[in-house]
């Protein structure tokens, strides 16, 4: 057993660091590290830089413009990205719909959509959940009825992340109501500019507009926009969800958040001393850091297994639960660190161009909002309860 990186892997890490040192714009990194919101333009700018380097599509085969990285190399990239404050890739196009198109789509679809994902011409969003279909995704009701060369789509999707920026949506729709729920679903690629589609914001408890409802009223979708076979969409959807689940543990993001927390705790004052010297608080930080160390190694064990040819299975569900709990615990501590200043909501300080005086610590403004916003971590991507069901069924056989 040798749990260290090989010389080749270390050399790859140096290459990643050299690239990030040279190519990552300082203003973007500052936004990411300060937990500020990124605009559509910010994301697109970084995507162009990555594409030029050939490092954007890390889950694609090389023939379509992907990069051939091992699971360990992908992990190194993730880890360094979080450390440097790289803007998180919006996964819906590059990491979610693209692998489905590559595996199940026809040549025409590959030729049409993959280059547009690489170039940034298309911004994709995900049409999975519905108001009545969350954890029980297979009960979805959005209906697609065949009418000659088209499907006519009616229904509603919910929790559509960044749908306000998207021009394309991949949707699970019901094409057959006569069969078992899972067997009557198809996977459609829909242009958001088609008449009959309405996007309505859902404002979250922190006042942010990140998610949306998408309404479909008699929306005409060409049959050629269906991926794979009719009524087989559930298979493709599940394939996509395994991609979604990897990375949801957010180990790298937790590491970045922890280092931010320690920095914060060394600046906040309690009893005239830095908070990090306070016994109770430093022990709270220590505990979460220890938990994170364990989760980091668990994550590496899964990656090593995949590197050796295995498939990430229910173990990634376990890690999703642990990882999200750890990140939420870090957010909780960051909010606690600023004491009474957790209460004010000073929106202008969320803007990185803010030049006025800071109410308290320059990084205090987003902390409470972020704590509340990240309650979503244990809900989305399959709630932690659903992940535990998967573990108990798949691993324990209960």
């Amino acid at each position: 057993m040798n749990i260290n990186y090989t010389p080749d892997e270390l050399a790859f890490r140096d290459e990643v660091r050299a690239f990030l040192n040279q190519a990552l714009p300082a203003d973007l990194a500052a936004k990411v590290k300060g937990f500020r919101h990124l605009t559509k333009e910010d994301h697109q700018r970084w995507q162009q830089i990555l594409c030029k380097q050939g490092w954007y599509a890390t889950h694609w085969p090389e023939e379509y413009g992907g990069v051939k990285w091992t699971p360990v190399q992908k992990h190194i990239w993730d880890e360094e990205s979080c450390d440097y404050g790289v803007p998180r890739s919006i996964p819906f196009g590059v990491n979610m719909v693209a692998p489905v198109i590559i595996k199940f789509g026809n040549e025409e679809q590959k030729k049409t959509y993959l280059p547009r994902i690489l170039s940034g011409e298309d911004w994709w969003c995900q049409g999975y959940s519905e108001p009545g279909a969350g954890s029980d995704l297979a009960s979805l009701k959005a209906r697609a009825v065949r009418d000659g060369d088209h499907y006519i789509v009616n229904g509603q999707k919910a929790w559509t992340t960044l749908g306000q920026y998207a021009n394309m949506i991949f949707c699970l729709v019901r094409t057959n109501t006569e069969v078992k729920a899972q067997e009557g679903i198809s996977f459609l690629l829909i242009d958001m500019n088609t008449p009959g589609i309405t996007v309505r914001p859902i404002i979250t408890l922190d006042g942010e507009h990140e998610v949306n409802e998408v309404f479909f009223q008699d929306v005409k979708v060409p049959v050629e926009n269906r991926v794979g076979e009719e009524d087989k969409g559930w298979t493709y959807a599940k394939f996509l969800l395994t991609y979604e689940r990897t990375g949801l543990a957010g180990i790298g993001l937790s590491k970045a958040a922890l280092s931010h927390l320690k920095h914060l705790a060394s600046r906040c004052i309690k009893n005239g001393r830095p908070l990090i010297e306070d016994t109770a608080f430093s022990q709270r930080i220590a505990k979460v850091e220890i938990d994170l160390t364990a989760a980091t190694i668990s994550n590496l064990r899964i990656i090593a297994a995949v590197e050796g040819g295995g498939m990430p299975g229910a173990e990634s569900s376990m890690l999703k639960v642990k990882g999200t709990e750890i990140r939420q615990a870090i957010n909780d501590l960051a909010r606690r660190a600023i004491g009474p200043y957790a209460i004010p909501f000073v929106e202008e300080e969320l803007n990185l161009d803010y030049e006025g005086e800071f109410l308290s610590d320059e990084n205090a403004a987003p902390l409470s909002a972020q704590y509340f916003n990240n309650r979503k971590l244990s809900i989305f991507g399959g709630s932690n309860e659903i992940q535990k069901n998967i573990v108990s069924k798949m691993i324990l056989g209960l």
């Binding site: 959940s129 906040c268 309690k270 005239g272 909780d332 209460i343 509340f372 309650r375 979503k376 809900i379």
Partner: protein
Amino acid sequence: MDFQLNEEQQMLQDTVARLVRGEYSFEKRLTFSETEAGFSVDFWKQLSDLGLTAVPFSEELGGFDGGGVEIQSVMTELGRGLCLEPYLQSVVFGGGLINQAGNESQKEAWLSGIASGELQAAVALQEPQSFYDLNDVQTRAEKKDGGFVLNGHKAVVIGGHCADLIVVSARTSGDARDANGISLFVLKPDTAGIERRVYPTIDGSKGCDITLRNVHVDANALLGEEGGASEIIEYQAGRAIAALCAEAVGVMEVANELTLDYLKQRKQFGVPIGKFQVLQHRMVDMMSELEQARSMAILAASVADEEQSNERRRVLSAAKNVIGRSGQFISEQGIQSHGGIGMTWEYNFAHYAKRLIMINHQLGDDDFHLERYASLLKAS
């Protein structure tokens, strides 16, 4: 032994409950929150018309000498409505400080106004470096021309943006964090040298930070004995803690009711999600937390107006510790039980969740009070 409210206390609670039910729908609250005051001026007037702003004060001031239990009755119902009015700041805390420390002429000038609701007080005791330690005071008051000159910065003054009176702590002697040497002053916010930075709070209310630059006040602004305010502040903060605990119980009650309703009506996999054991047990835990919190709120109310003692200190810290923990549990587990809908602005649960977390940031969080309780163990 009797845990029931007496007839008068029950009437008091019913009165507030009726008022909140009638006037404080969730939709209305959102609009109150967005006004310049950040609360309903009209609702405040209704509270005062019913004599509710006078509850803790003497009969001469139109009150009925209400104690911890009477305040508890009012605050729990205000908590159920997530009411934004500065009852805690003005009636309980600010009014309490003036009532305990003020001389006759000060009480005459300010207390009757606070009791009638015509005057609103805010309390400015925290500072940027103080965390939750109210003895950590660096604001200074120097004697000058028969009065005082104040310089310093007071932090997170809820309701301070529109209060008529601001009760400020400042050091007249001693070093930072000394208990001795802290004095209280009652300031009018339009006094020269007072600058307020107003902001909304994340739980829908409003507050401000206050900078004091060479603020001249006359001797009559000094509340109580010069340098002797620490004990008064601690005592009144204790009353405010008991009131906050009662508010938290009201918030938790509604949070649990909403969650239980949701578990019964939300269907997934063909059944109400309340049929799933993991959610049943969670709901039971939320209920147990509420009952623990309720017990501590009752205990806190019972000592709130007792003479100061280490026993009173311990009880109040214990109560605030429990409320902080159970509030966070109910907030987080309630959101989780709701799923995505629990995180939206349009649905009321999230607003209850936010209030519960922010109550933990007022007058010391669970960690702070655990430490305080532990230090009192040594003292006994």
